[in-house]
């Protein structure tokens, strides 16, 4: 059906200059329908005109050459009434709200039903007024990207924005983020600072904010409360604790991982207790948060090239080599294994100067490469154990370690030393999932 020339629907609408939002009457062989022209859906047939009828329903009408259309009135611009900021409440703490894309707060355009992210402070205030009851929000858009499109370079930009915000004197920072890679960014922000004078809280939504059941507003409000009301000097993730709108979990950077494609409680703490829980009335800590510092102090950068591969039955040397650059993290099987015949390739890679770290795709538990022969061979080949670090955490940390260290030995040391809560020599009884409280 698709051709190089404009579709019959486009031609018909163009013949009367009708655009989305305009009211038209479409005459086809036997019937006549009136409504507003809507933009076509991505999966719509190109020969279909989509009308919003007076009943509110959209309907797709296939049109061809004999059909006619009249434009009855133009839709005009959506009524423009700039939303106002809530009154400044001086005694409230100031919290920077850093936007990175994603639709944690968004507008529905009523003529077309299209969803736009809320970017200005005014739009945000209109969308989630309750967040402003806990803090004076100071919003800024750092970049607008899907979280699956982010790179280590984005982490640096975001760290710059966090640093600038604390230098302006905010009490805390909230970062709104797409959920797909939010756990990578949380780890990056934790590593990017030697000292933090307040909490850096990452928050996202699993249900878009254009629906009454969205988790966006309550997640954001909980994140703002953590940023405004707690004394903590570390990066964390705040999201729904369960499927109910009752409690919100505070997860440690490096330990939080997106464990579900769609549920509100997709983020879980692995091998670690959630740091705390937010309820309507209180913020309760399970783990004492790190004391805030007096000032903000950066640490290192993310300018290094690291690959992350998942081992599987049949993986071959080419795949390992293609992923290995300055560094390579392998999400190995079990206690931290690759097929034994690849030990030789790992040996060559480490000889060529690549730092190779072995994590486990089990996600829970720690690596131990001294139990089986294959593990011992990999250690002899120069691979470093990631211990109880998640593969994604190990990846971010290796990028940071390589970019920050002056030489490979120092990078190796930075990687192995706990920098925050991302690794620990002790494994608690947290599996499969400890009740948060």
């Amino acid at each position: 059906m698709s051709t190089d020339q404009a579709s019959s629907a486009d031609q018909l609408l163009a013949s009367v200059d009708a655009e989305p939002g305009d009211r038209v009457r479409v005459h086809r062989d036997e019937d006549t329908l009136e409504g507003r022209v809507m933009p076509r859906h991505g999966f719509s047939d190109p020969d279909v005109v989509v009308l919003k009828l007076d009943s509110g329903y959209n309907i797709g009408l296939r049109v061809d050459e004999g059909d006619e259309v009249e434009r009855l009135e133009t839709g005009g611009e959506a009524p423009e009434q700039p939303p106002a900021m809530p009154d400044d409440v001086d005694e409230l703490p100031t919290v920077a709200l850093l936007g990175t894309g994603g639709t944690i707060a968004s507008f529905v355009e009523y003529r077309t039903g299209a969803v736009h992210p809320a970017t200005s402070p005014e739009e945000l205030a209109a969308a989630v007024p309750e967040a402003f009851e806990h803090a004076r929000l100071d919003p800024e858009v750092v970049f607008e990207a899907f979280s699956e499109d982010l790179t280590p370079d984005h982490w640096s930009q975001l760290a710059d924005a966090v640093e600038a915000a604390f230098e302006r004197g905010v009490e805390g920072v909230v970062v709104t983020h797409g959920t797909d890679t939010m756990h990578y960014t949380a780890m990056a922000l934790e590593l990017a600072f030697d000292e933090l004078p307040g909490p850096v809280v990452l928050v996202g939504a699993q249900r878009s904010s254009d629906r009454p059941s969205s988790d966006a507003a309550t997640n954001l409000t909980s994140a703002v409360r953590v940023a405004a009301e707690t004394d903590a000097g570390e990066a964390m993730v705040v999201m729904h604790e369960g499927m109910s709108d009752e409690t919100w979990a505070i997860h440690a950077a490096g330990r939080a991982r997106k464990m579900h494609t769609s549920r509100r409680d997709a983020f879980q703490s692995l091998d670690h207790r959630p740091l705390g829980v937010v309820t309507d009335d209180a913020i309760e800590w399970n783990v004492e948060p790190r004391e805030p510092a007096d000032r903000v102090q950066r640490s290192g950068s993310f300018d290094a090239d690291v690959g992350l591969v998942h081992s599987y039955p049949g993986i071959d040397a080419d795949e390992i080599r293609a992923a290995a650059r300055d560094g390579l993290v392998v999400a190995g099987t079990g206690l931290g294994h690759l097929p034994s015949h690849l030990a030789e390739d790992v040996d060559e890679l480490t000889d060529e100067g690549t730092l190779v770290a072995m994590a486990s795709q089990c996600l829970n538990g720690r690596t131990n490469m001294h139990v089986y022969e294959t593990g011992r061979q990999l250690v002899e080949a120069g691979a470093i154990e990631a211990g109880d670090m998640l593969p994604e955490t190990a990846y971010v940390k290796l990028v940071w370690a390589l970019a920050t260290a002056d030489d490979p030995d120092e990078a190796r040391e930075l990687f192995r030393q706990p920098q925050g809560r991302e690794q620990s020599p002790r494994t608690g009884f947290y599996y499969p999932r400890e009740e948060a409280r």
Binding site: D31, V50, G56, I59, L61, R62, Q81, S262
Partner: protein, 620 residues
């Protein structure tokens, strides 16, 4: 009796048995509770892009919704924890089939919309609905009735408990497909309303994919009565009560048109107060348990003065349509469980003395004025009486436009104001469904037979009598009957097996699946046993979980040849030689009885009868 001034329209919602509309869950109800989820809904931004702060404040102090679910009948889609799957194509085919049967014009592309509903009955805060076809018509005795629109939508969650602060739902029903058909307002008598509803219901059921049983069909009625108002009556489940709702609504509206007249003679809207007042003090030592309980739970008693209303609120004994009942409906819409008013007091433990004191507190005259009371949570009591006050004002104008809820006794009660035009947004998670001409052509080519067509075919081609043919044609098992006949069964045997024998076996508590019945009838057709043994065979197989072949053997029915039977019969006749000698053919009955005792189920009665007759004849 057609009355051109009475204008009714119907909206039929019928559940389909196709699996849920936007996920792959079954469409069964289920009492198990595996998880409970608590949620709040939040108004979305208005068209202006702003959240209405008043509405938001209301929502925030408002209700928590809890949802019970079991994995057998719900999944993460119903819990709003997973995006919807694509529109169920089987359900769409049913809707397109009905469109073809009614000559409606299908959409070329079906777009799923979100209709905002934040009473908690949908976990998402909206109901997904899609317009499938427009136009078309049905034929009833008053003539042709046009159809306005046909939509497919998801059914709401099932309400289990409704409180002023909390509502509890089950997710089993959420997402069951509903086909919604709306007629034009062209029905002019109670009987026409019933006939149209029946006609539409019949057409949907003819597709063979409608769910059956209580609660699977719901009818909404739109009624405009001359001099009265347009009223929508929601949720009529019983088809036979439809005319009653129309008649009752006409009567109700007439009553309130007259009341407006009478009220205007004794009082005026200007005499009504600004609002209700707190009269809790009067009831400090009350004997009324309702009031006492409310006060004990930190509640208050509020009173609304109704100057000049004495005698106009009505009592239960006088009439079903009384203003007191309407005021109570408005109060209930704001969370009160009901209200007391002076026309029915003293009662419920409220004394003459207390009534006098309330009059005193309100400054009203017991001989002319009325008041009503609500004992509840202070906020609810106040809001409930404010709503009642609103209704007292409209009493002077006649009948307000409103949505009313159908009650089981044919009466209705106030539910909410008439809905404005629905707020609908595209459901961006569901791609539009293209209806190409080939699909419609295939549907047109395979349209289901309507019951009257089926009945005619059964009578003419299969020579069944009218009663049986009609029963089969409207039975949900007509398809099974057609299959049995196609597989070679005699029509009369197939009919009785479906209409009588299976229900009898099932009445004894043994389920007979279609497959088992087909197996049995097929064995019968092949001569494995006889007609009169069908029930025994089915019962044995169903009860013991046997294959038909094994049940036949277990009952000792298998294979008796005519020669073997003749031997048995001759033995019986010989044993009774004396009787045969004395009575001749008169012994037939007694000997037939004995022979059947031995041969029942193994050989057809007619054959046994012939063998007995021959054996007797040989001996006389």
């Amino acid at each position: 009796m057609s009355d051109p001034d009475l204008v009714c329209g119907l909206e039929i919602h019928q559940q389909l048995d196709t699996g849920k509309l936007f996920c792959d869950c079954p469409t069964e109800l289920d009492e198990r509770e595996e998880v409970t989820i608590t949620r709040r809904l939040r108004p979305t931004q208005s068209e202006m892009g702003e959240v209405d702060r008043a509405a938001l404040a209301e929502a925030r102090k408002g209700r928590d919704f809890s949802y019970e679910a079991s994995s057998a009948t719900a999944c993460l889609v119903e819990a709003d924890e997973e995006p919807p799957h694509a529109l169920n194509q089987q359900a769409l085919d049913v809707a397109l089939t009905i469109a073809a049967m009614t000559d409606a014009r299908p959409a070329d592309e079906v777009h799923t919309m979100r209709k905002i509903v934040i009473d908690g009955s949908n976990t998402t805060g909206f109901q997904r609905t899609a317009l499938v076809a427009k136009g078309g018509s049905i034929e009833i005795s008053e003539g042709e009735i046009e159809l306005e629109a046909m939509a497919l939508e998801e059914d709401a969650a099932r309400i289990m408990q409704r409180g002023s602060r909390q509502a509890r739902y089950r997710l089993d029903r959420l997402g069951i497909p509903l086909v919604e058909i709306a007629t034009a307002p062209q029905l002019h008598s109670p009987e026409a309303v019933r006939e149209a509803a029946q006609r539409i219901g019949t057409m949907i059921r003819a597709t063979g994919q409608a769910k059956r049983g209580l609660g699977t069909i719901r009818q909404d009625l739109n009624i405009s009565v001359p001099e009265g108002a347009r009223v929508e009556i929601k949720g009529v489940q019983d088809l036979d009560l439809l005319p009653t709702y129309v008649e009752q609504e006409q009567q109700r509206q007439r009553t309130f048109v007259e009341l407006a007249d009478r009220l205007s003679k004794t009082t005026s809207p200007e005499a009504l107060p600004e609002g209700p007042v707190d009269v809790s003090d009067v009831f400090e030592h009350t004997d009324s348990s309702v009031v006492e309980d409310a006060l004990a739970a930190d509640g208050e008693v509020w009173a609304l003065a109704l100057p000049g209303f004495d005698g106009h609120l009505g009592t239960r004994e006088e009439t079903d349509h009384r203003l007191g009942r309407e005021l109570a409906g408005y109060a209930r819409s704001q969370g009160a469980s009901g209200l007391f008013h002076t026309d029915e007091l003293p009662a419920y433990g409220i004394t003459e003395h207390e009534i006098g004191q309330v009059h005193e507190a309100l400054g009203t005259d017991p001989d002319e004025d009325a008041f009503c009371l609500v004992a509840a949570d202070p906020d609810i009591a106040q809001r409930s009486l404010e709503a009642a006050l609103e209704r007292a004002h409209t009493a002077f104008e006649g009948v307000p436009e409103e949505t009313r809820e159908a009650l089981e006794n044919g009466l209705t009660r106030y539910l909410r104001p008439l809905p404005g035009s629905a707020r609908m947004y595209p459901e961006t998670d569901v791609p539009p469904a293209t209806i190409d001409p080939d699909r419609m052509a295939a549907i047109e080519a395979g349209l289901p037979e309507l019951p009257e067509e089926k009945q005619a075919r059964y009578q003419e081609e299969l020579e069944l009598n009218e009663e049986i043919a009609a029963a089969l044609a409207t039975s949900e098992h007509a398809g099974l009957f057609d299959d049995l006949v196609a597989e070679g069964a005699e029509a009369s045997v197939a009919a009785s097996s479906v209409l009588q024998i299976r229900p009898q076996v099932e009445d004894e508590g043994h389920e007979v699946p279609d497959e088992l019945l087909r197996e049995a009838v097929s064995a019968l057709t092949d001569g494995a046993f006889t007609k009169d043994a069908l029930e025994d065979v089915l019962l044995e197989a169903a009860r013991e979980g046997l294959a038909i072949e094994d049940a036949v053997e277990e009952l000792g029915l298998g294979g008796v040849s005519e020669d073997e039977a003749r031997e048995i019969v001759e033995g019986i006749v010989d044993d009774n030689a004396e009787m045969v000698e004395n009575q001749g053919m008169g012994a037939m009955g007694a000997l037939m009885g004995q022979a059947m005792g031995e041969l029942k189920g193994k050989l057809e009665g007619e054959t046994v009868n012939r063998l007995v007759r021959e054996a007797i004849q040989e001996r006389i």
